[in-house]
Amino acid sequence: MVENRPWANFFAHLTLMIGVAVVVFPVYVALVASTQAPGDLLRGTLPMLPGAHGIENFTRMWQSGVSNAGAPPAGMMLWNSFVMAMAITIGKLSISLLSAFAIVYFRFRFRMFFFWLIFITLMLPVEVRIIPTFQVVADLNMLNSFAGLSIPLIASATATFLFRQFFMTIPEEMLEAARVDGAGPLKFFKDILMPLSVTNIAALFVIMFIYGWNQYLWPLLITTDPDYYTIVMGIQRMTSEENPQWHLIMAAVVMAALPPVLVILFMQRLFVKGLTETEK
């Protein structure tokens, strides 16, 4: 602050509190709605204070789900989301660490060709080429499987790009010293490169996990078997029936939002680092 003005400070806090309130509002409404009894939401307007049926609604959703929508219990959908998000995260991180290592630390034929082949995927989201991708996955018999849910989404170069940038900043002396000591490429990768990249890996882990957890269109298309429903797409199926059971849907919404929000709140520093380095 340049000068101290009590009034300006007061208005600054006021602006921020209104801002925070607007940002929090939809989730507060969801929390309130998830604690109401079945009929309460159909009687005109939503109450502004929590009701007494929260535990009941959450337990019911967790264990049995909205059965007439054919949706499985939320507990199972959360597990499916978790498996899918982890598979995408670990898959992306491992293939991109390896390929970034190859591109930065080796000189070989067609290196530029491979580089561009990978980097052309940098920004094209799966939504754009959705139908042909669906056909490929169907041809490979990967519908209704965790492999089908995760592997096609691994094909993106963001992580490779980030690791390449990071490896370029590692001093040449590291490699020279390793080679003088007689370390081979794999030993160098395991004992020097990996430990140096721990922060970057963790930062990307946060972002990739959220990306995987929040996938919507892809699981919606390739899973017709409720055993593979993820929570985010499962919620859409519940809202699209004749009389949506809002108190249960909102309980599911809270459960679907909680894991990624917790990841962000606990890993905030790494998340910000990962975000700014991916984009800049």
């Binding site: 409404v29 969801a30 709605a33 070989f108 929040n214 859409q236 809202t239």
Partner: protein, 294 residues
């Protein structure tokens, strides 16, 4: 492209290291993208029995088609609305947080978490809040005499999806604006204050011009977000309706291909979208390269 001065010798190892990513990219990226290009040149008859090569006719048809042109203008309105709303709110919040010393990190934490919420979930949340029969906002609007109904009014539906999309993007823009603000030297602002410039004047003549690189970067990112990542919001709420009022380009690719089974047209739309993303990516990259030299 730069390389390390010193590298490892290796004849097969680099290919083995690259293999997983190259294979996944070829199967799930290059092959489908090629399929889209190829299908965009074909036309299937109504029964799906015969396909004929029609050249660029699918593209020509699209640009004569009122529904496609409508979808184009819907996308422009949606992208501009979302970008303006989320960026202006984020800039206001970021410049206010930046004044704070002790409470800065608390406010930041309170504002960043919507990034973690899935677009589809954001859509469901706002859809519920604006639900014409039980939602809280239509109830309040009704008291001031406005009948909200996004099931029948295209304008209401558009506002609903813009709110949901902008809400989710505020946290992202906020973080980048805050980072941009913190990189502005404090001495510049102090000097202007000593010269008697008011806080508003300092903001518009010093801070905002120095933020233009961040603003431009965020504009491109937000347009990309609004165009491609908001499929979930639209599918979970309005499904393109009412009467095509929220049928954006990405949603139309899905609707025409999966629901309408018009593969040739859907593929041609995919190709156009890919061209748009590539163009936006090039803009972004050129900008990032320039930015490095600042």
């Amino acid at each position: 492209m730069q390389t390390k001065r010193m590298t490892f010798p290796g004849r097969f190892l680099p290919y083995a290291l690259l293999a997983p990513q190259v294979i996944v990219t070829l199967i799930f990226f290059i092959w489908p993208a090629g399929q889209a290009l190829y299908q965009s040149l074909l036309r299937e008859d109504a029964f799906g029995l015969r396909t004929t090569f029609v050249g660029l006719e699918n593209f020509a048809r699209l640009f004569r088609d009122g529904a496609y042109l409508n979808s184009l203008s819907v996308t422009v309105v949606f992208a501009v609305g979302t970008t303006l709303l989320s960026m202006s709110v984020a800039l206001l919040l970021a410049s206010t947080v930046n004044r704070m010393i002790r409470s800065r990190s608390t406010y930041t934490t309170l504002l960043v978490w919507p990034y973690a919420i899935a677009p589809a979930i954001a859509g469901v949340l706002w859809w519920f809040i604006f639900n014409p029969s039980i939602g809280i906002v239509p109830y309040i609007l009704d008291m001031v005499g406005y009948q909200w109904n996004h099931r029948t009014s295209g304008a209401d539906a558009m506002m609903l999806v813009i709110f949901a999309a902008a809400w989710k993007q505020i946290s992202y823009n906020f973080l980048f604006f805050l980072a941009g603000l913190q990189s502005i030297p404090q001495s510049l602002i102090e000097a202007a204050a000593i010269d008697g410039a008011s806080p508003m004047k300092r903001f518009w003549t010093i801070v905002f011009p120095l933020l233009t690189p961040t603003t431009f970067f965020l504009m491109v990112v937000n347009v990309v977000y609004a165009m491609f990542d908001t499929f979930g919001i639209i599918h979970a709420t309005t499904q393109g309706g009412p009467a095509q009022a929220t049928n954006t380009l990405v949603y139309k690719v899905y609707a025409d291909g999966f629901v309408g089974l018009n593969l040739g047209s859907s593929a041609a739309q995919s190709v156009i979208l890919m061209a748009i993303v590539v163009a936006l990516t090039v803009v972004q990259f050129r900008f990032i390269e320039r930015r490095v030299n600042y």
